[in-house]
Every structure is written in structure tokens, then in C-alpha cells.
């Protein structure tokens, strides 16, 4: 009889733990995504640094996206892929297919004797 009671109490204990575990931890609450925000901040600061050093206008003036992408290689995290679009107000869509994709837009006005309002859109993603 004692052995039976012990077993019953053990089962009750397991049931209590299981019930609380399923109730409290069963529902999936997704943690907010921070990584893409970090990419955005890094991307924005990289373009700002190039603008402050008057380098950015050299790329925007000639729509040199590949040159700008090469320049950004040492400024952005190694583990992400990225693509640059330089445009006026109508910008082409790079058609990137990725589960993790974000972008930032930087506005620039060019340089001395070469005023030109442009958008530099930096798409950052991971394959």
C-alpha cells in the first residue's frame, strides 16, 4: 500500500511540473530581431563616413555602384552580403531573395560645382 501511495505522489509531482511547463513555456514568443538593426546602423555610419570624407560623391556622380560596394567591403561586417543602388527618386529593385534582408537610405547632395540630390540605398542580407 505504501509503495502504491509513493508512486501516486510521484505521478502527481510529475503532472504538476508538466502542467506548469506546458502552460508557461509552451507558447512560443519570438524574441525581437536585433541583428538587422545593427546592420542598418553600421551601413548608415559607413555611408556617412564616406560622405564626410567627400568620397561618396565620387561614386554617386558616376553611378559607380560596384566601386562603392568594393569600398564598403572593409567597413561592413564580413558575414553579410550587400548591394548598393544609387538613384534619384525612382529606384530600381535589386530583387534580392533572402529570409533576412534589410536596407537603409542615405541622402547626399554631391560636391562643389556638382550639386546633385541622390539616394544611396544599401541593401544588406544573408543568404
Amino acid at each position: 500500500m505504501k509503495g502504491l501511495l509513493k508512486s501516486l505522489e510521484a505521478i502527481i509531482a510529475v503532472l504538476i511540473i508538466l502542467t506548469v511547463f506546458i502552460t508557461y513555456f509552451g507558447t512560443k514568443e519570438a524574441l525581437p530581431e536585433f541583428e538587422t538593426i545593427t546592420w542598418q546602423l553600421k551601413g548608415f555610419n559607413s555611408l556617412k563616413a564616406l560622405d564626410d570624407s567627400n568620397e561618396l560623391k565620387n561614386y554617386t556622380k558616376t553611378n559607380n555602384t560596384s566601386g562603392l560596394e568594393t569600398r564598403l567591403l572593409s567597413m561592413l561586417p564580413r558575414d553579410i552580403d550587400y548591394e548598393v543602388v544609387i538613384c534619384d527618386l525612382t529606384c530600381s529593385d535589386p530583387n534580392i531573395e533572402s529570409e533576412k534582408l534589410t536596407s537603409i537610405t542615405y541622402l547626399t547632395v554631391g560636391g562643389v560645382n556638382d550639386f546633385q540630390s541622390k539616394q544611396v540605398i544599401l541593401y544588406m542580407y544573408r543568404e
Binding site: L5, I16, I17, I37, L107, V109, G111
Partner: protein, 221 residues
């Protein structure tokens, strides 16, 4: 009932308490708030981006007063469109004034340009230029959003240095505003004066800033 049997239930209750405490310590609300704060920081950067490029436009369009005005107006309209495509509103009122090199006793023209990007029609805008021997007022009605109001005033400087006053008053369906702008005239100098009331509104953040300064474009030796 033996003591050994009860320990299973007691242990279970302790484990449950630990699990509840662990779950409570994960504060999702705070994590989400932190994320919003970081995202709003990015929008602050974008607002700063516009302000920096406005100042840069003045530098690269220097020393031609008309060039500065044209380029600034173009960049402001461009920025507004760009932000709009990202569901962010960029609004404001932008006043620019410049005059050519002043000679004592000769009439000089003060060119004034106002760009309405408030996102609504200005019902009445009143520009009043006053100072020593000058008192000129211009009133315009139904000044639409996206439009530019170009006008001018004349002054005749009798001293070497004199501060005139440009008073701007306007009203829309949502605001009435008055701003007094000092026009610091000086013999032998060309100056550009600007007053920008710039605002950015998104679903995360509202920002507003006033940029105002006087730039010496040219001075005769």
C-alpha cells in the same frame, strides 16, 4: 502517509516556483522597448542626414545666393519625396534671404524666398521688413504646400552696420506662428540668411529642429 512520499510533491512545487521565476525574469516588454529605442535612433540619424546635407548644400553652392536658394529648395523637395516613400513625413517652413554687396547711400535689394513644406496650405503669410527708414509689408493668401514665395524688399544703408528686422507671420488650419529674423547688413558685404523650421514625423518618432544662421558670401576689400 510517509515523509518520503511527500518530498516528491514538495520538490515539484519548488521546481514550479523556479520555473515561474525564470519566466518572469525574461522581460519581453523591455526587450521590445529597447528595440524601438534603437530603431528611433536610426531615424534620428536620418533626420540628421537631412540637416547635414542642407548645410553642405550651402557650402557647395557658395558664393552664389541664388544658387544656394535653388539648390536648397530642390534638395528639400527631393528629401521629402524620399522620406514619403519610406512612410516618413518631412515637413517644414524654409525662409532664405540674401542681398548683394552693400554700398552706403545706394538702394540695395533684399531677396527673400519662402518654401512651404508644412504639408498644408498657409491661409495668410505676412512678411514685414523694418528698420531705419524702412517699413515694408507684404501679405499673401492661399500659399499652397510645395510652393515657393519669392519676393524682395529695398533698403538704403546709411551707417556701416545695421540690423534690420524681417518679421514672418503665417497661419494654417493647424497653427499660427510668428518669427522675427535679424538681417545683419554691413557695408561691403554680401550675406545669406536662413531660417529653417524642419520637422520629421514617423510612426516611431516626432522630431523638430530650427536651423538659422547668417553666411557671409562675399566681402569687398
Amino acid at each position: 502517509m510517509s515523509m518520503k512520499g511527500q518530498t516528491f510533491v514538495i520538490m515539484a512545487i519548488i521546481i514550479v516556483i523556479v520555473m515561474v521565476m525564470l519566466k518572469s525574469s525574461l522581460n519581453f516588454v523591455k526587450i521590445i522597448e529597447n528595440k524601438r529605442y534603437i530603431e528611433s535612433g536610426l531615424e534620428r540619424y536620418q533626420f540628421q542626414n537631412v540637416k547635414d546635407e542642407l548645410e553642405k548644400t550651402i557650402q557647395i553652392s557658395y558664393p552664389n545666393g541664388k544658387n544656394i536658394t535653388d539648390n536648397l529648395n530642390e534638395f528639400l523637395k527631393f528629401s521629402r519625396q524620399s522620406f514619403k516613400s519610406r512612410t516618413i513625413e518631412l515637413n517644414g517652413l524654409f525662409l532664405e534671404a540674401y542681398f548683394p554687396t552693400i554700398e552706403t547711400g545706394i538702394d540695395t535689394r533684399l531677396n527673400v524666398s519662402v518654401l512651404n513644406l508644412l504639408g498644408e496650405t498657409i491661409n495668410t503669410i505676412n512678411l514685414s521688413f523694418s528698420g531705419s527708414g524702412v517699413g515694408q509689408t507684404q501679405t499673401n493668401y492661399t500659399f499652397e504646400d510645395y510652393n515657393i514665395l519669392d519676393t524682395n524688399f529695398t533698403f538704403n544703408l546709411q551707417a556701416n552696420v545695421y540690423n534690420y528686422t524681417l518679421n514672418i507671420t503665417y497661419n494654417t488650419s493647424s497653427e499660427n506662428a510668428t518669427k522675427i529674423i535679424i538681417i545683419p547688413t554691413e557695408v561691403g558685404k554680401t550675406k545669406y540668411i536662413y531660417y529653417f523650421d524642419i520637422r520629421m514625423v514617423s510612426n516611431k518618432l516626432e522630431q523638430r529642429d530650427i536651423l538659422e544662421s547668417t553666411v557671409i558670401l562675399n566681402e569687398s576689400s
